[in-house]
């Protein structure tokens, strides 16, 4: 509804005057509602906490892993597939990084690189399975989530291990007056804007919208899908790495909640699970919304054993409402 308003008047005006910005405007069109909702949530949050800006920065640090995961999820969803192994891959990256650091002669930085490589490898594996083996991504990534989860559990049967506290400090530090997580978030947004403009992003979107038509137009469909899984893998790796820096320890199940939340954030941000429509910017907004909601729940003083239910109910309600609105609106 709001998008059609944008569509008919504002964006066509701008598209005439600023047609070179068309990808960004389209992106705003898709992510607009989520950005507005984010502002509303921030405003509500600020009522609960007088010391709002400190609260804001520290929350961005906590939400950053989800933001990266949501960005990765969006990139896969845009290409018409879905990735259910996000959470397990994050757990695996965490486990590998912590276990690698525990090996003799491996520094923190090297462990991070090994963890990053692991994330990319999960993307490669998913990509091969979906793009080249041509398995349907729903069940295929469901299967791979247990492979990554099993590996994580094998490496780290119990939560434990440690990681230099230095990284946790650096993670929450500031460069100038901007906190590190905020800078990383900005980098994520910039990356998304580049991706959207780049051939990789554009072909991904056309493949997601209509794979047959894209193929008929000469776009190499398997390679495009493979590429989107790799990019997503890199982002998920970053998610796992930032999570590791945050908790400076290992937990083989740490990533579990991320799968659903990343997909939800993506959907909040305007992605359609049928592919071809979506926004990384919106997904990041969605991640922030979910994160701030969690805080609002906490600050409302709801007893701890109620919190999971309330959080789950809110997530599901958001999904149902967004889905209903989009479906009825078509």
């Amino acid at each position: 509804m709001i998008s059609s308003l944008f569509n008919s008047r504002i964006s066509s005006y701008f598209q005439n005057k600023l047609s070179f910005l068309s990808p960004e405007l389209q992106d705003l069109e898709v992510s607009g509602p989520s950005l507005i909702f984010l502002i509303i949530v921030i405003v509500i949050s600020s009522f609960f906490n007088p010391n709002f800006f400190a609260f804001l920065w520290s929350n961005v640090a906590d939400i950053l892993p989800l933001a990266f995961a949501a960005l990765g999820a969006t990139i896969v969803i845009l290409s018409g597939e879905i990735d259910l192994s996000i959470g397990a891959a994050i757990s695996l990256v965490n486990a590998v990084t912590v276990v690698a650091y525990g090996q003799p002669n491996i520094t923190g930085g090297q462990a991070l690189l090994i963890g990053f490589a692991t994330g990319i490898l999960t993307g490669v594996f998913n990509g091969i399975v979906v793009a080249y083996l041509r398995l349907k991504s729903l069940l295929a990534t469901f299967a791979t989530s247990f492979i990554y989860g099993g590996l994580a559990l094998w490496l780290l049967p119990q939560p434990g291990g440690s990681f230099p506290a230095l990284f946790s400090v650096r993670y929450r530090s500031s460069l100038g007056f901007l906190p590190m997580p905020f800078i990383l978030l900005l980098l994520g947004i910039i990356f998304w804007l580049f991706y959207r403009r780049h051939k990789a992003g554009q072909s991904s979107i056309s493949v997601g919208g209509n794979a047959e038509a894209a193929f008929a137009n000469g776009i190499p469909v398997p390679r495009t899908k493979f590429r989107s899984f790799i990019v997503s893998g890199a982002l998920i790796a970053l998610s796992g790495l930032s999570l590791t820096c945050m908790i400076v320890s290992g937990d083989p199940n740490i990533g579990d909640p991320y799968t659903l939340q990343a997909i939800t954030a993506s959907v909040i941000g305007g992605a359609s699970l049928y592919g071809g429509v979506g926004s990384g910017l919106g997904a990041i907004a969605g991640a922030l919304i979910l994160g701030f909601l969690k805080n609002i729940i906490f600050f409302l003083g709801i007893p701890s054993y109620f919190q999971e239910f309330v959080h789950g109910a809110i997530v599901i309600s958001i999904l149902v409402v967004i889905s209903y609105v989009r479906f009825r609106g078509e």
Partner: protein, 320 residues
């Protein structure tokens, strides 16, 4: 004569292959660990398989309904019903039959919510049921206030673990359950409408089936059956913990795939799903006897699903 046998073999090849795999796995098990394929152990394995079989029945209903149908919440519903049942049977001391009805109603309601989200709000089944897992687990926490109490009554324990003329009660129940499910699927209007809706939505709609209602009923059934499975599980495990049923989620999906139920809906037999559940349980038992821990089992399950999908579920290559 020969052509009759070959014809039968060809038509039921899925079932025969499944039985064959069972035999091979049992034989391998018997070699690696003497006693694995003994009568007593096979009965044990079959008893264990019954829980998976019940949850996979719910999954079957969901998948049959079509539209990439899936119910990831089967494990969560089972866990929740176990927690509620333990409390109702234990501290509240309600009769078993009443508790059975209550938890089945609860399961049906949870499944109903899934069905409503999937049909009326058009939320993809995967996402809806995945989200409901969180809600249902949260409900478990809310209901038990952080401390699950109660346990199975003696009667329930006897049903889940006891025997009648040497055959475990649970197998008898499962057999009855299988008959009921097969009857509902094959011989009731609902069952036939379910197959119709799953295989061709539009045609079913035109011929008068209320597509949305059928789908919602399918997911409600899934919830109901999962709740029943949870009750049985409680009797078997006797103690109660959170997320008791979660380890059944993936195997229930694999069992359905093994059973030849198509994810586009409308195709597949519960009987084959039963065989699939048995195969998976034999495999899990085998892995456990070989001291392969949970990590290894997760890995194996993941690879098995991948292998099955590669064998049966590849999309066509794109051509000009």
């Amino acid at each position: 004569m020969k052509s009759i046998v070959l014809d039968y073999a060809r038509k039921n090849r899925h079932t025969l292959v499944a039985i064959g795999i069972c035999g091979i796995l049992l034989a391998i098990g018997g070699i690696l660990r003497p006693g694995f394929s003994s009568y007593k152990n096979v009965l044990n394995i079959l008893s264990l398989a019954s829980f998976l079989g019940i949850l996979a029945a719910g999954q079957t209903f969901a998948v049959l309904s079509g539209g990439e149908g899936l119910d990831l919440s089967v494990g969560a519903v089972a866990s929740f019903s176990a927690i509620v049942a333990a409390h109702l049977l234990g501290p509240l001391n309600l009769p078993l039959v009443l508790v059975l009805l209550i938890i089945m109603a609860l399961g049906a309601v949870l499944g109903l919510i899934n069905g409503l989200g999937i049909t009326y709000a058009q939320v993809p089944p995967l996402v809806m049921t995945l989200g409901m897992i969180g809600v249902i687990n949260g409900l478990s926490l809310v209901y038990s206030g952080g401390q699950p109490t109660g346990s199975a009554t003696e009667l329930l324990q006897t049903i889940s673990t006891g025997r009648i003329v040497g055959i475990p009660w649970i197998l008898v129940i499962w057999l009855a359950f299988i008959f009921i499910v097969l009857f509902v699927l094959k011989r009731t209007t609902f069952g036939r409408a379910l197959y119709a809706v799953g295989s061709n939505r539009e045609a079913a709609y035109i011929s008068g089936a209320r597509v949305e209602i059928i789908k919602i009923l399918a997911y409600s059934f899934s919830g109901l059956l999962s709740a029943f499975g949870g009750l049985m599980l409680l009797g078997f495990v006797q103690g109660v913990q959170y997320e008791m049923g979660s380890s059944y989620m993936l195997p229930s999906v694999i069992a359905v795939v093994l059973g030849g139920v198509s994810f586009s809906g409308g195709e597949g037999e519960y009987f084959n799903v039963v065989l699939g559940a048995i195969i998976l349980t034999i495999l899990t038992s085998l892995l456990t006897t070989l001291n392969i821990g949970e990590a290894g089992r997760m890995l194996v399950n993941g690879f098995i699903l991948l292998a099955l999908l590669t064998a049966f579920g590849r999309a066509e290559k794109m051509r000009q």
